[in-house]
Amino acid sequence: MAVRKLTLQEKDSRLGIKLVLPSVIIIALLIIYPIFYNIYLSFFDVKMNGDAFFIGLKNYANVLTDSTFWSSVGITFFFVISTTFLTTVMGLVVALVMNKKFPLRGLVRSLVLLPYVAPVISTVYSWQFFFDPVNGIFMHVLVDVLHISQSRFNLISDPKYALWVAVVFSMWKAFPFTYLMILSRLQTIDTTLYEAAEIDGAGAIRKFWSITLPELFFVLGSIVLLRFIWNFNKFEEVYLLTDNVKVLSVYTYFKAFTGSLDLGQGSALVVIQFSLLVGLILIYVKKVLKW
Protein backbone atom coordinates (compact mmCIF):
# COMPACT_ATOMS: atom_id res chain seq x y z
CA MET A 1 0.00 0.00 0.00
CA ALA A 2 2.74 2.41 1.05
CA VAL A 3 4.74 1.64 -2.06
CA ARG A 4 1.77 2.19 -4.31
CA LYS A 5 1.05 5.58 -2.76
CA LEU A 6 4.63 6.67 -3.30
CA THR A 7 4.53 5.87 -6.98
CA LEU A 8 1.30 7.79 -7.32
CA GLN A 9 2.93 10.77 -5.68
CA GLU A 10 5.94 10.38 -7.89
CA LYS A 11 3.73 10.25 -10.92
CA ASP A 12 1.99 13.38 -9.74
CA SER A 13 5.20 15.33 -9.22
CA ARG A 14 6.40 14.24 -12.66
CA LEU A 15 3.21 15.70 -14.10
CA GLY A 16 3.77 18.86 -12.06
CA ILE A 17 7.23 19.30 -13.56
CA LYS A 18 5.89 18.66 -17.06
CA LEU A 19 3.21 21.32 -16.62
CA VAL A 20 5.61 23.96 -15.37
CA LEU A 21 8.41 23.11 -17.82
CA PRO A 22 7.31 25.34 -20.73
CA SER A 23 7.21 28.37 -18.43
CA VAL A 24 10.59 27.54 -16.92
CA ILE A 25 12.26 26.99 -20.29
CA ILE A 26 10.94 30.25 -21.74
CA ILE A 27 11.96 32.26 -18.69
CA ALA A 28 15.37 30.60 -18.53
CA LEU A 29 16.11 31.18 -22.22
CA LEU A 30 14.68 34.67 -22.54
CA ILE A 31 15.36 36.27 -19.16
CA ILE A 32 18.01 34.39 -17.17
CA TYR A 33 20.32 33.57 -20.07
CA PRO A 34 20.17 37.11 -21.55
CA ILE A 35 21.11 38.62 -18.17
CA PHE A 36 24.33 36.59 -18.15
CA TYR A 37 24.92 37.02 -21.86
CA ASN A 38 24.63 40.76 -21.32
CA ILE A 39 27.38 40.67 -18.69
CA TYR A 40 29.54 38.73 -21.15
CA LEU A 41 28.84 41.23 -23.96
CA SER A 42 29.84 44.15 -21.76
CA PHE A 43 33.49 43.04 -21.99
CA PHE A 44 33.45 43.15 -25.78
CA ASP A 45 33.64 45.73 -28.48
CA VAL A 46 30.64 44.70 -30.58
CA LYS A 47 30.93 45.74 -34.22
CA MET A 48 27.94 46.48 -36.40
CA ASN A 49 28.55 43.39 -38.57
CA GLY A 50 28.28 41.20 -35.48
CA ASP A 51 32.01 40.71 -34.77
CA ALA A 52 33.04 41.13 -31.17
CA PHE A 53 36.49 41.77 -29.74
CA PHE A 54 37.41 41.25 -26.12
CA ILE A 55 38.45 44.57 -24.62
CA GLY A 56 38.25 43.85 -20.90
CA LEU A 57 36.90 46.67 -18.79
CA LYS A 58 37.24 49.35 -21.45
CA ASN A 59 33.47 49.73 -21.92
CA TYR A 60 33.09 50.35 -18.21
CA ALA A 61 35.97 52.81 -18.19
CA ASN A 62 34.38 54.69 -21.09
CA VAL A 63 31.01 54.82 -19.39
CA LEU A 64 32.28 55.84 -15.96
CA THR A 65 34.46 58.65 -17.29
CA ASP A 66 31.60 60.09 -19.34
CA SER A 67 30.07 63.06 -17.55
CA THR A 68 26.72 62.61 -19.34
CA PHE A 69 26.49 59.18 -17.70
CA TRP A 70 26.78 60.71 -14.24
CA SER A 71 24.25 63.40 -15.02
CA SER A 72 21.83 60.73 -16.24
CA VAL A 73 22.32 58.83 -12.97
CA GLY A 74 21.36 62.02 -11.15
CA ILE A 75 18.33 62.61 -13.39
CA THR A 76 17.24 58.99 -12.92
CA PHE A 77 17.31 59.24 -9.13
CA PHE A 78 15.45 62.55 -9.17
CA PHE A 79 12.85 61.12 -11.55
CA VAL A 80 12.39 57.89 -9.60
CA ILE A 81 12.20 59.46 -6.14
CA SER A 82 9.81 62.24 -7.11
CA THR A 83 7.51 60.02 -9.19
CA THR A 84 7.39 57.36 -6.49
CA PHE A 85 6.47 59.94 -3.88
CA LEU A 86 3.87 61.77 -5.97
CA THR A 87 2.29 58.61 -7.36
CA THR A 88 1.89 57.09 -3.92
CA VAL A 89 0.38 60.23 -2.37
CA MET A 90 -2.00 60.74 -5.29
CA GLY A 91 -2.96 57.06 -5.26
CA LEU A 92 -3.66 57.18 -1.54
CA VAL A 93 -5.84 60.30 -1.80
CA VAL A 94 -7.85 58.86 -4.70
CA ALA A 95 -8.26 55.51 -2.92
CA LEU A 96 -9.61 57.26 0.20
CA VAL A 97 -12.06 59.24 -1.95
CA MET A 98 -13.22 56.18 -3.91
CA ASN A 99 -13.74 54.24 -0.72
CA LYS A 100 -16.58 56.62 0.17
CA LYS A 101 -20.02 56.25 -1.34
CA PHE A 102 -21.15 58.98 -3.75
CA PRO A 103 -23.40 59.20 -6.82
CA LEU A 104 -21.93 57.91 -10.11
CA ARG A 105 -19.03 56.26 -8.26
CA GLY A 106 -18.92 53.39 -10.75
CA LEU A 107 -18.49 55.76 -13.67
CA VAL A 108 -15.86 57.81 -11.84
CA ARG A 109 -13.88 54.66 -11.04
CA SER A 110 -13.84 53.69 -14.73
CA LEU A 111 -12.79 57.15 -15.88
CA VAL A 112 -9.93 57.32 -13.38
CA LEU A 113 -8.50 54.09 -14.82
CA LEU A 114 -8.10 55.60 -18.30
CA PRO A 115 -4.58 57.03 -17.90
CA TYR A 116 -3.26 53.67 -16.76
CA VAL A 117 -5.00 51.63 -19.45
CA ALA A 118 -4.31 53.76 -22.51
CA PRO A 119 -1.08 53.10 -24.41
CA VAL A 120 1.73 55.52 -23.58
CA ILE A 121 2.03 56.42 -27.24
CA SER A 122 -1.55 57.59 -27.52
CA THR A 123 -1.33 59.85 -24.48
CA VAL A 124 2.03 61.58 -25.08
CA TYR A 125 0.85 63.68 -28.02
CA SER A 126 -2.01 65.15 -26.08
CA TRP A 127 0.42 66.13 -23.33
CA GLN A 128 2.79 67.61 -25.88
CA PHE A 129 -0.08 69.55 -27.41
CA PHE A 130 -1.04 70.84 -23.96
CA PHE A 131 2.45 72.33 -23.53
CA ASP A 132 2.87 73.32 -27.17
CA PRO A 133 4.21 76.90 -27.36
CA VAL A 134 1.88 77.96 -30.20
CA ASN A 135 -1.37 76.03 -29.64
CA GLY A 136 -1.15 74.74 -26.08
CA ILE A 137 -3.54 75.69 -23.31
CA PHE A 138 -0.74 75.79 -20.74
CA MET A 139 1.04 78.68 -22.45
CA HIS A 140 -2.29 80.38 -23.07
CA VAL A 141 -3.02 80.37 -19.34
CA LEU A 142 0.54 81.26 -18.34
CA VAL A 143 0.96 84.18 -20.76
CA ASP A 144 -2.45 85.48 -21.77
CA VAL A 145 -4.55 84.78 -18.69
CA LEU A 146 -2.23 84.92 -15.67
CA HIS A 147 0.56 87.03 -17.23
CA ILE A 148 3.20 85.06 -15.33
CA SER A 149 5.47 84.90 -18.34
CA GLN A 150 6.08 87.63 -20.93
CA SER A 151 6.20 85.35 -23.95
CA ARG A 152 5.31 81.81 -24.94
CA PHE A 153 8.17 79.31 -24.88
CA ASN A 154 8.70 75.63 -25.57
CA LEU A 155 8.55 74.05 -22.14
CA ILE A 156 9.24 70.47 -23.20
CA SER A 157 12.35 71.31 -25.21
CA ASP A 158 14.04 72.77 -22.13
CA PRO A 159 15.58 69.82 -20.20
CA LYS A 160 15.05 71.56 -16.86
CA TYR A 161 11.27 71.90 -17.29
CA ALA A 162 10.93 68.75 -19.38
CA LEU A 163 12.04 66.69 -16.39
CA TRP A 164 9.15 68.09 -14.36
CA VAL A 165 6.68 67.47 -17.15
CA ALA A 166 7.96 63.87 -17.34
CA VAL A 167 7.50 63.48 -13.58
CA VAL A 168 3.90 64.72 -13.66
CA PHE A 169 3.15 62.64 -16.75
CA SER A 170 4.55 59.51 -15.13
CA MET A 171 2.50 60.19 -12.01
CA TRP A 172 -0.62 60.67 -14.13
CA LYS A 173 0.02 57.36 -15.89
CA ALA A 174 0.72 55.33 -12.75
CA PHE A 175 -1.54 56.65 -10.00
CA PRO A 176 -4.59 54.56 -11.02
CA PHE A 177 -2.61 51.38 -10.45
CA THR A 178 -1.51 52.55 -6.99
CA TYR A 179 -5.05 53.61 -6.16
CA LEU A 180 -6.46 50.20 -7.14
CA MET A 181 -3.94 48.38 -4.97
CA ILE A 182 -4.63 50.63 -1.98
CA LEU A 183 -8.38 50.49 -2.48
CA SER A 184 -8.52 46.71 -2.49
CA ARG A 185 -6.65 46.75 0.84
CA LEU A 186 -8.90 49.51 2.23
CA GLN A 187 -11.96 47.40 1.53
CA THR A 188 -10.65 44.61 3.72
CA ILE A 189 -10.19 46.79 6.82
CA ASP A 190 -12.55 45.64 9.52
CA THR A 191 -15.25 48.33 9.87
CA THR A 192 -15.75 47.53 13.55
CA LEU A 193 -12.36 49.18 14.16
CA TYR A 194 -13.81 52.48 12.96
CA GLU A 195 -17.01 51.98 14.90
CA ALA A 196 -15.04 51.38 18.08
CA ALA A 197 -12.93 54.47 17.42
CA GLU A 198 -16.06 56.56 16.88
CA ILE A 199 -17.46 55.42 20.22
CA ASP A 200 -14.18 56.56 21.76
CA GLY A 201 -14.78 59.94 20.13
CA ALA A 202 -12.08 59.82 17.44
CA GLY A 203 -12.43 62.26 14.52
CA ALA A 204 -11.73 61.59 10.86
CA ILE A 205 -8.09 62.61 11.05
CA ARG A 206 -7.46 60.59 14.17
CA LYS A 207 -9.09 57.54 12.55
CA PHE A 208 -6.87 57.95 9.47
CA TRP A 209 -3.62 58.08 11.49
CA SER A 210 -4.51 55.42 14.02
CA ILE A 211 -6.39 52.87 11.91
CA THR A 212 -6.18 53.42 8.16
CA LEU A 213 -2.47 54.20 7.84
CA PRO A 214 -1.22 51.34 10.06
CA GLU A 215 -3.52 48.93 8.22
CA LEU A 216 -2.16 50.16 4.88
CA PHE A 217 1.47 50.09 6.00
CA PHE A 218 2.32 46.80 4.33
CA VAL A 219 0.65 47.51 1.01
CA LEU A 220 2.13 51.02 0.89
CA GLY A 221 5.58 49.60 1.52
CA SER A 222 5.34 47.14 -1.31
CA ILE A 223 3.85 49.73 -3.66
CA VAL A 224 6.68 52.19 -2.97
CA LEU A 225 9.34 49.54 -3.55
CA LEU A 226 7.71 48.22 -6.72
CA ARG A 227 7.19 51.70 -8.09
CA PHE A 228 10.82 52.54 -7.38
CA ILE A 229 12.04 49.43 -9.19
CA TRP A 230 9.66 49.87 -12.14
CA ASN A 231 10.37 53.55 -12.61
CA PHE A 232 14.09 52.93 -12.39
CA ASN A 233 13.77 50.92 -15.62
CA LYS A 234 11.15 53.20 -17.15
CA PHE A 235 11.78 53.92 -20.79
CA GLU A 236 8.69 54.55 -22.88
CA GLU A 237 7.01 57.16 -20.73
CA VAL A 238 10.10 59.34 -20.75
CA TYR A 239 11.45 58.70 -24.23
CA LEU A 240 8.16 59.09 -26.06
CA LEU A 241 7.16 62.26 -24.20
CA THR A 242 10.47 64.05 -24.73
CA ASP A 243 13.99 63.10 -25.71
CA ASN A 244 15.35 65.84 -23.46
CA VAL A 245 15.15 63.83 -20.27
CA LYS A 246 18.04 61.40 -20.34
CA VAL A 247 17.27 58.90 -17.63
CA LEU A 248 19.53 55.83 -17.67
CA SER A 249 17.19 53.74 -19.85
CA VAL A 250 16.96 56.47 -22.48
CA TYR A 251 20.71 57.09 -22.32
CA THR A 252 21.34 53.37 -22.88
CA TYR A 253 18.86 53.23 -25.77
CA PHE A 254 20.59 56.14 -27.49
CA LYS A 255 24.04 54.63 -26.92
CA ALA A 256 23.13 51.18 -28.20
CA PHE A 257 20.67 51.84 -31.00
CA THR A 258 21.43 55.23 -32.50
CA GLY A 259 24.55 56.76 -34.05
CA SER A 260 27.47 54.38 -33.72
CA LEU A 261 25.28 51.54 -32.37
CA ASP A 262 27.59 50.66 -29.52
CA LEU A 263 26.05 47.47 -28.17
CA GLY A 264 29.07 46.70 -25.98
CA GLN A 265 28.91 49.99 -24.14
CA GLY A 266 25.13 49.64 -23.95
CA SER A 267 25.60 46.28 -22.23
CA ALA A 268 28.01 47.80 -19.74
CA LEU A 269 25.42 50.48 -18.98
CA VAL A 270 22.76 47.84 -18.46
CA VAL A 271 25.01 45.91 -16.08
CA ILE A 272 25.56 49.09 -14.06
CA GLN A 273 21.83 49.88 -14.05
CA PHE A 274 21.03 46.34 -13.02
CA SER A 275 23.54 46.32 -10.17
CA LEU A 276 22.15 49.61 -8.86
CA LEU A 277 18.79 47.86 -8.72
CA VAL A 278 19.75 44.45 -7.37
CA GLY A 279 20.01 45.75 -3.81
CA LEU A 280 16.47 47.09 -3.99
CA ILE A 281 15.12 43.95 -5.59
CA LEU A 282 16.66 41.90 -2.80
CA ILE A 283 15.02 44.13 -0.18
CA TYR A 284 11.70 43.67 -1.96
CA VAL A 285 12.11 39.92 -2.07
CA LYS A 286 13.24 39.71 1.57
CA LYS A 287 10.79 42.09 3.20
CA VAL A 288 7.70 41.98 1.03
CA LEU A 289 7.77 38.47 -0.32
CA LYS A 290 9.39 37.03 2.83
CA TRP A 291 11.81 34.50 1.42
Partner: protein, 322 residues
Protein backbone atom coordinates in the same frame (compact mmCIF):
# COMPACT_ATOMS: atom_id res chain seq x y z
CA UNK B 1 -27.76 74.70 12.18
CA UNK B 2 -24.00 75.25 12.38
CA UNK B 3 -23.51 71.53 12.17
CA UNK B 4 -25.70 71.40 9.08
CA UNK B 5 -23.73 74.14 7.33
CA UNK B 6 -20.55 72.36 8.17
CA UNK B 7 -21.88 69.21 6.54
CA UNK B 8 -22.90 71.06 3.37
CA UNK B 9 -19.44 72.64 3.05
CA UNK B 10 -17.86 69.25 3.54
CA UNK B 11 -20.06 67.77 0.86
CA UNK B 12 -19.25 70.53 -1.62
CA UNK B 13 -15.54 70.19 -0.87
CA UNK B 14 -15.74 66.45 -1.46
CA UNK B 15 -17.59 66.90 -4.75
CA UNK B 16 -14.99 69.40 -5.96
CA UNK B 17 -12.23 66.94 -5.05
CA UNK B 18 -13.93 64.17 -7.05
CA UNK B 19 -14.38 66.50 -10.02
CA UNK B 20 -10.72 67.55 -9.90
CA UNK B 21 -9.58 63.93 -9.85
CA UNK B 22 -11.80 63.09 -12.82
CA UNK B 23 -10.69 66.18 -14.74
CA UNK B 24 -7.02 65.40 -14.13
CA UNK B 25 -7.54 61.82 -15.33
CA UNK B 26 -9.50 62.45 -18.49
CA UNK B 27 -8.43 65.92 -19.61
CA UNK B 28 -5.79 64.62 -22.05
CA UNK B 29 -8.40 62.36 -23.64
CA UNK B 30 -10.92 65.16 -24.02
CA UNK B 31 -8.24 67.34 -25.57
CA UNK B 32 -7.33 64.50 -27.94
CA UNK B 33 -10.93 64.23 -29.08
CA UNK B 34 -11.24 67.99 -29.41
CA UNK B 35 -8.02 68.42 -31.41
CA UNK B 36 -8.87 65.53 -33.70
CA UNK B 37 -12.07 67.33 -34.70
CA UNK B 38 -10.60 70.82 -35.14
CA UNK B 39 -9.48 72.58 -38.30
CA UNK B 40 -5.83 73.64 -38.20
CA UNK B 41 -6.79 77.33 -37.88
CA UNK B 42 -8.67 76.39 -34.72
CA UNK B 43 -5.79 74.65 -32.88
CA UNK B 44 -4.66 77.76 -31.03
CA UNK B 45 -8.18 78.30 -29.70
CA UNK B 46 -8.03 77.32 -26.00
CA UNK B 47 -11.68 76.25 -26.03
CA UNK B 48 -12.11 72.48 -26.16
CA UNK B 49 -15.22 72.78 -28.30
CA UNK B 50 -14.21 73.04 -31.96
CA UNK B 51 -15.48 76.19 -33.69
CA UNK B 52 -16.35 74.02 -36.63
CA UNK B 53 -16.30 70.22 -36.77
CA UNK B 54 -13.65 68.76 -39.06
CA UNK B 55 -13.78 65.02 -39.64
CA UNK B 56 -11.14 64.79 -42.38
CA UNK B 57 -8.56 63.42 -39.93
CA UNK B 58 -10.75 60.39 -39.25
CA UNK B 59 -11.84 59.80 -42.83
CA UNK B 60 -8.23 60.01 -43.95
CA UNK B 61 -6.87 57.64 -41.31
CA UNK B 62 -9.69 55.15 -41.70
CA UNK B 63 -9.52 55.43 -45.48
CA UNK B 64 -13.14 56.54 -45.74
CA UNK B 65 -12.38 59.42 -48.07
CA UNK B 66 -12.40 59.10 -51.84
CA UNK B 67 -9.65 56.83 -53.13
CA UNK B 68 -6.67 58.68 -54.51
CA UNK B 69 -6.41 57.88 -58.21
CA UNK B 70 -3.14 56.26 -59.10
CA UNK B 71 -1.73 58.36 -61.86
CA UNK B 72 1.07 56.91 -63.88
CA UNK B 73 2.59 59.34 -66.36
CA UNK B 74 1.94 58.36 -69.96
CA UNK B 75 5.65 58.20 -70.79
CA UNK B 76 6.26 55.72 -68.01
CA UNK B 77 3.28 53.61 -69.06
CA UNK B 78 4.65 53.56 -72.58
CA UNK B 79 8.05 52.50 -71.34
CA UNK B 80 6.46 49.70 -69.36
CA UNK B 81 4.42 48.49 -72.32
CA UNK B 82 7.23 48.68 -74.83
CA UNK B 83 10.00 47.09 -72.86
CA UNK B 84 9.17 43.40 -72.89
CA UNK B 85 12.39 42.27 -71.26
CA UNK B 86 11.48 43.90 -67.96
CA UNK B 87 10.77 41.33 -65.28
CA UNK B 88 7.57 41.62 -63.27
CA UNK B 89 9.64 42.53 -60.28
CA UNK B 90 11.19 45.49 -62.07
CA UNK B 91 7.80 46.59 -63.38
CA UNK B 92 6.32 46.50 -59.93
CA UNK B 93 9.26 48.44 -58.55
CA UNK B 94 8.64 51.21 -61.07
CA UNK B 95 4.91 51.21 -60.42
CA UNK B 96 5.50 51.33 -56.68
CA UNK B 97 7.15 54.73 -57.05
CA UNK B 98 3.92 56.16 -58.36
CA UNK B 99 1.61 54.36 -56.05
CA UNK B 100 3.64 55.27 -53.00
CA UNK B 101 1.22 55.88 -50.17
CA UNK B 102 3.76 56.64 -47.45
CA UNK B 103 2.16 59.99 -46.69
CA UNK B 104 -1.13 58.45 -45.65
CA UNK B 105 -1.50 56.50 -42.45
CA UNK B 106 -2.87 53.01 -43.21
CA UNK B 107 -4.48 52.62 -39.81
CA UNK B 108 -6.10 49.26 -40.48
CA UNK B 109 -2.82 47.67 -41.61
CA UNK B 110 -1.09 48.72 -38.41
CA UNK B 111 -4.15 47.76 -36.41
CA UNK B 112 -4.02 44.29 -37.94
CA UNK B 113 -0.30 43.94 -37.16
CA UNK B 114 -0.82 45.04 -33.57
CA UNK B 115 -3.77 42.69 -33.20
CA UNK B 116 -1.84 39.71 -34.58
CA UNK B 117 1.12 40.24 -32.28
CA UNK B 118 -0.98 40.93 -29.20
CA UNK B 119 -3.47 38.10 -29.70
CA UNK B 120 -0.85 35.46 -30.45
CA UNK B 121 1.41 36.47 -27.59
CA UNK B 122 -1.31 36.88 -24.98
CA UNK B 123 -3.09 33.63 -25.83
CA UNK B 124 0.15 31.58 -25.87
CA UNK B 125 1.23 33.17 -22.63
CA UNK B 126 -2.14 32.46 -21.03
CA UNK B 127 -2.12 28.82 -22.11
CA UNK B 128 1.41 28.21 -20.84
CA UNK B 129 0.69 30.10 -17.63
CA UNK B 130 -2.54 28.26 -16.73
CA UNK B 131 -0.75 24.93 -16.50
CA UNK B 132 2.43 26.43 -15.07
CA UNK B 133 0.54 28.36 -12.39
CA UNK B 134 -1.53 25.32 -11.44
CA UNK B 135 1.59 23.26 -11.09
CA UNK B 136 3.30 25.90 -8.93
CA UNK B 137 0.23 26.53 -6.80
CA UNK B 138 -1.06 23.02 -6.26
CA UNK B 139 1.53 20.36 -6.94
CA UNK B 140 4.57 19.26 -4.97
CA UNK B 141 7.96 18.42 -6.43
CA UNK B 142 11.61 19.32 -5.95
CA UNK B 143 12.37 22.84 -7.08
CA UNK B 144 8.75 23.98 -6.90
CA UNK B 145 9.49 26.64 -4.26
CA UNK B 146 12.50 27.96 -6.18
CA UNK B 147 10.42 28.30 -9.34
CA UNK B 148 7.70 30.10 -7.41
CA UNK B 149 10.16 32.67 -6.09
CA UNK B 150 12.12 32.88 -9.31
CA UNK B 151 8.99 33.98 -11.13
CA UNK B 152 8.70 36.99 -8.85
CA UNK B 153 12.33 37.83 -9.24
CA UNK B 154 12.34 37.89 -13.04
CA UNK B 155 9.25 40.03 -12.94
CA UNK B 156 11.42 42.88 -11.61
CA UNK B 157 13.64 42.79 -14.69
CA UNK B 158 12.50 45.58 -16.98
CA UNK B 159 12.53 45.48 -20.77
CA UNK B 160 15.44 47.85 -21.23
CA UNK B 161 17.69 45.46 -19.30
CA UNK B 162 16.96 42.64 -21.77
CA UNK B 163 16.77 44.59 -25.02
CA UNK B 164 20.46 44.50 -25.98
CA UNK B 165 21.16 40.81 -25.25
CA UNK B 166 17.88 39.66 -26.83
CA UNK B 167 18.55 41.74 -29.93
CA UNK B 168 22.11 40.42 -30.21
CA UNK B 169 20.95 36.83 -29.75
CA UNK B 170 18.24 37.25 -32.41
CA UNK B 171 20.71 38.72 -34.91
CA UNK B 172 23.23 35.96 -34.21
CA UNK B 173 20.54 33.34 -34.82
CA UNK B 174 19.64 35.12 -38.06
CA UNK B 175 16.09 35.80 -36.94
CA UNK B 176 16.15 39.53 -37.65
CA UNK B 177 17.03 39.08 -41.32
CA UNK B 178 13.62 37.74 -42.35
CA UNK B 179 10.05 38.81 -41.69
CA UNK B 180 9.09 35.41 -40.33
CA UNK B 181 12.05 35.29 -37.99
CA UNK B 182 11.39 38.81 -36.73
CA UNK B 183 7.75 37.98 -36.08
CA UNK B 184 8.76 34.85 -34.20
CA UNK B 185 11.35 36.72 -32.11
CA UNK B 186 8.95 39.51 -31.21
CA UNK B 187 6.06 37.19 -30.35
CA UNK B 188 8.22 35.08 -28.07
CA UNK B 189 9.60 38.22 -26.43
CA UNK B 190 6.06 39.42 -25.79
CA UNK B 191 5.22 36.02 -24.33
CA UNK B 192 8.08 36.21 -21.88
CA UNK B 193 7.19 39.80 -20.98
CA UNK B 194 3.72 38.72 -19.92
CA UNK B 195 4.42 35.23 -18.59
CA UNK B 196 5.67 36.10 -15.07
CA UNK B 197 2.60 38.29 -14.40
CA UNK B 198 0.26 35.61 -15.67
CA UNK B 199 1.93 32.93 -13.56
CA UNK B 200 1.79 35.07 -10.44
CA UNK B 201 -1.80 36.28 -10.78
CA UNK B 202 -3.18 32.91 -11.83
CA UNK B 203 -1.26 31.16 -9.06
CA UNK B 204 -2.90 33.42 -6.49
CA UNK B 205 -6.31 32.80 -7.96
CA UNK B 206 -5.90 29.00 -8.08
CA UNK B 207 -4.77 28.96 -4.44
CA UNK B 208 -8.04 30.62 -3.44
CA UNK B 209 -10.09 27.71 -4.79
CA UNK B 210 -10.88 25.36 -1.90
CA UNK B 211 -8.90 22.16 -2.21
CA UNK B 212 -11.96 20.13 -1.18
CA UNK B 213 -13.52 20.85 -4.59
CA UNK B 214 -10.53 19.32 -6.31
CA UNK B 215 -10.53 16.40 -3.92
CA UNK B 216 -14.14 15.69 -4.78
CA UNK B 217 -13.19 15.67 -8.44
CA UNK B 218 -10.37 13.17 -7.79
CA UNK B 219 -12.78 10.90 -5.96
CA UNK B 220 -15.12 11.11 -8.94
CA UNK B 221 -12.23 9.73 -10.94
CA UNK B 222 -11.00 12.89 -12.63
CA UNK B 223 -7.31 13.01 -13.46
CA UNK B 224 -5.23 16.10 -12.64
CA UNK B 225 -5.48 17.26 -16.20
CA UNK B 226 -9.26 16.80 -16.32
CA UNK B 227 -9.55 18.64 -13.02
CA UNK B 228 -7.68 21.62 -14.44
CA UNK B 229 -9.75 21.77 -17.60
CA UNK B 230 -13.19 21.03 -16.11
CA UNK B 231 -12.96 22.49 -12.60
CA UNK B 232 -10.12 24.98 -12.20
CA UNK B 233 -10.47 26.89 -15.47
CA UNK B 234 -14.25 27.48 -15.25
CA UNK B 235 -13.96 28.46 -11.57
CA UNK B 236 -11.21 31.00 -12.27
CA UNK B 237 -12.90 32.54 -15.27
CA UNK B 238 -12.73 36.12 -13.96
CA UNK B 239 -9.05 35.81 -13.07
CA UNK B 240 -8.23 34.28 -16.43
CA UNK B 241 -10.10 37.04 -18.26
CA UNK B 242 -8.26 39.70 -16.23
CA UNK B 243 -4.88 38.12 -16.82
CA UNK B 244 -5.57 37.81 -20.53
CA UNK B 245 -6.56 41.47 -20.80
CA UNK B 246 -3.40 42.48 -18.93
CA UNK B 247 -1.13 40.52 -21.20
CA UNK B 248 -2.98 41.73 -24.28
CA UNK B 249 -2.53 45.30 -23.05
CA UNK B 250 1.20 44.83 -22.38
CA UNK B 251 1.73 43.56 -25.93
CA UNK B 252 -0.61 46.12 -27.53
CA UNK B 253 1.09 49.06 -25.82
CA UNK B 254 4.67 47.85 -26.25
CA UNK B 255 7.02 50.24 -27.98
CA UNK B 256 10.63 49.48 -27.01
CA UNK B 257 11.18 46.04 -28.57
CA UNK B 258 8.98 46.75 -31.56
CA UNK B 259 10.96 49.90 -32.37
CA UNK B 260 14.24 47.97 -32.48
CA UNK B 261 13.10 44.72 -34.08
CA UNK B 262 10.69 46.10 -36.69
CA UNK B 263 12.83 49.10 -37.62
CA UNK B 264 13.44 48.01 -41.23
CA UNK B 265 10.09 46.26 -41.76
CA UNK B 266 7.74 49.20 -42.33
CA UNK B 267 4.89 46.96 -43.43
CA UNK B 268 5.00 45.10 -40.11
CA UNK B 269 4.80 48.22 -37.94
CA UNK B 270 2.57 47.99 -34.90
CA UNK B 271 0.41 50.97 -33.95
CA UNK B 272 2.79 52.47 -31.36
CA UNK B 273 5.79 52.69 -33.70
CA UNK B 274 3.63 53.71 -36.64
CA UNK B 275 2.19 56.56 -34.57
CA UNK B 276 5.66 57.72 -33.57
CA UNK B 277 6.72 57.57 -37.22
CA UNK B 278 3.65 59.55 -38.25
CA UNK B 279 4.47 62.23 -35.72
CA UNK B 280 8.09 62.69 -36.79
CA UNK B 281 7.24 62.61 -40.51
CA UNK B 282 6.59 65.88 -42.27
CA UNK B 283 2.91 65.08 -42.34
CA UNK B 284 2.71 65.11 -38.60
CA UNK B 285 -0.20 67.32 -37.87
CA UNK B 286 -2.09 67.50 -34.64
CA UNK B 287 -5.54 66.48 -35.88
CA UNK B 288 -4.32 63.26 -37.50
CA UNK B 289 -2.01 62.39 -34.63
CA UNK B 290 -4.86 62.98 -32.15
CA UNK B 291 -7.31 60.89 -34.12
CA UNK B 292 -4.79 58.05 -34.49
CA UNK B 293 -3.94 58.26 -30.77
CA UNK B 294 -7.57 57.99 -29.81
CA UNK B 295 -8.23 55.06 -32.14
CA UNK B 296 -5.14 53.24 -30.84
CA UNK B 297 -6.39 53.52 -27.27
CA UNK B 298 -9.94 52.33 -28.02
CA UNK B 299 -9.43 48.52 -28.09
CA UNK B 300 -7.60 48.29 -24.74
CA UNK B 301 -9.97 50.76 -23.10
CA UNK B 302 -12.96 48.66 -24.17
CA UNK B 303 -11.34 45.45 -22.92
CA UNK B 304 -10.59 47.06 -19.57
CA UNK B 305 -14.11 48.36 -19.17
CA UNK B 306 -15.37 44.81 -19.74
CA UNK B 307 -13.24 43.32 -16.96
CA UNK B 308 -13.39 46.32 -14.66
CA UNK B 309 -15.74 44.69 -12.20
CA UNK B 310 -13.13 41.97 -11.58
CA UNK B 311 -10.39 44.46 -10.76
CA UNK B 312 -11.09 45.81 -7.30
CA UNK B 313 -11.01 43.09 -4.70
CA UNK B 314 -9.03 40.79 -6.93
CA UNK B 315 -5.90 39.42 -5.33
CA UNK B 316 -3.56 41.20 -7.65
CA UNK B 317 -1.50 42.91 -4.97
CA UNK B 318 2.03 43.48 -6.13
CA UNK B 319 1.51 41.06 -8.94
CA UNK B 320 0.50 43.29 -11.78
CA UNK B 321 2.91 44.55 -14.32
CA UNK B 322 2.71 47.75 -16.23
Amino acid sequence: MVNNNHRVIKKIGFTILVLLIVLFSIFPFIQMLSTSLKFSWDWGNPSLVPTEINTTAYSEILGLGEEVEIEIPASVQKLLDNTPNLTDEQKNAILAKYTDTSDVFPFFDYFKNSLQFSLTASLCSLLIAIFGAYSIARMKYRGQKIIQRGVLFVYMVGGILLLIPLFKISTTLGLTSSEGGTTFALVIIYIVQTLPVCLYMLGNSFRSIPFSIEEAAFIEGYSRFQTIVRIIIPLSFSAIATVWVYSFMIAWNEYLFASVFLKSYTNMYTLPIALKALFVSKNAIWDRVSAASLLTAVPVVILFMLIQKFLAGNKTEGGVKE
